[in-house]
Amino acid sequence: MCREVIGEFKSVTKRFGATTALDELSLDIHRGINGLIGHNGAGKTTAIRLSLGLIKPDDGCAKLFGFDCWRDSMSIRNKVGVLYEKLAFYDNMSGLEQLRLMAKLKGASDSVVKLRKLLCLVELDEGAHDRRVGGYSAGMRQRLGLAQALLGKPELVILDEPTANLDPLNRTKILELVTFLNKEHNISFLISSHILPELEKICDNFILMNKGKLLRQGKLEQMLSKTSLSVPFVKFVVRVHPVESVATFLEGEECVEKLSIIDGSLHVIVKDVLLFKQRLPLLIGQAKASLDEVKMAESDLETVFKSSVKEV
């Protein structure tokens, strides 16, 4: 299914002195959950700021919801909520006051009841609502920032490293919240993160950047099929019982490069990931074996990302 494009960059270039932050970058932002991936300095943050009209492109055209990002940035900001990696608030205010101020600035409802509900939605303790933001922990600030980004029912929420300051449990909760908001409230997301397995779980469109350029864009399966041609080795660990019979079946497979049994598990080096994923259940059935676990030594997205960067 082809999702609606809500934002597009066409050959956007942005230089800071001698450094080229964005180099003729062209990409599409789709309705849904978009993952923005790239090394440090790949140009992700510049692209985000440019999309909100905080930076002027030197060349090219960037649009969001049909509005020019520099000239019509006010129209864009009415539809977009954003959580930056670097969080800043009026530290002398309480969390609730800060949220109330931002609601006024966004033209959203500043009803205390609604704002408290929003703070509870992002799991900020009720006791912290009336405490000074200056005394908040990094995780609490992150939640307040998220609540701020969700104010006024935005059509698109941009999250720059949304789980950076959170423990694993709360990371999962934030990601569940993102999925919930996308499904139930039709809010689209553009998430920039270095934690690729997290993005892999929730995103339906991926944008891979390197050195200010677009490497790849699309669904994971599409990128994986393209990547499998260029990635010589992807390692899978398969825990099956009995392991030997499955190994026998796998040995003759076209998609398998190398096979070994280590500590009762099959360690398979795969040439074609998609084909391997299709064939493995069939082979296990033929071997009348039971599957306990199958995992990649690295996630699909990490594989795609690493191989794409290697290609450049």
């Binding site: 700021r49 930076i55 900001r77 954003v82 608030f89 205010m93 600035l105």
Partner: protein
Amino acid sequence: MSLRVGLALLKAELDKVWARPILEITVAFMATMAIFMVQPFTEIVDHSKFSIVFQSALAGSVSSTVASLLLPLVIMCGVLMALSFARDYESGLMLSILSVPVSRKMFFAVKFFAVVLPLALLSWILTTFFVGLTFYSSPWLVLQLSFYALPVTFLSLMFCGGIGVLVALLVKRSIPAVLTSLLANFFFWFLTNIDTLSSGGDSYANYLCLTPYKGALVFLNKLLGLAPKAISMTDTLEVTLSAGAFGVLAVFWACVLVVPMFVYFCRRFEICE
């Protein structure tokens, strides 16, 4: 709608800029400077000349109080303005606020006036208070004459704030911006305090009366009807130019940095911290 937004942002900005102990320090600093500048009226004069001499002494006290308040105003305005812009840029608060539907024009105006307006009001209140303590018998006259101080300090603060914004937007780092703004403002303040009689006479006076703070003070003196003290000849600019000309000069200095900075911030300034 935009007024509501502007007022909400102004309140937040005022609370931030004037949080403890900034307001207390500013009031104490300004009060210390102002308290010694009011001249007690102890002259014995003829009854027929009393009102003229009394009014002249009162006007002289207003003028000297405003002149003495210029130093704390310049220091506090320079520091707070540079800090307000540079710290918000550095911390990311500018990024956060400008990512919501707040126009750059409003953001700039709110930040600028959150520093300038309270300082102008404070200087007026302190001038009225300290002059009123001595000349309490004519409260209406005190109010009337000290009211002239309000536009003069406001225009001086506009120039001072303009330097603060210019430095903050160029340097973009809190501490260097504060120090640079402080030095730049202090330099212009220093020009107002050069004694023209001992340093070369009227040729210097002709230049110095056109400098930002000195020009504003001459404007005030002319409004108050005071004659220049430190000039030996009568054909210098300070004497020959009218109050209106010095008023125009004060407005020019007030706008010379603020207006270009406003235009630059609204049209060109990029937030790439």
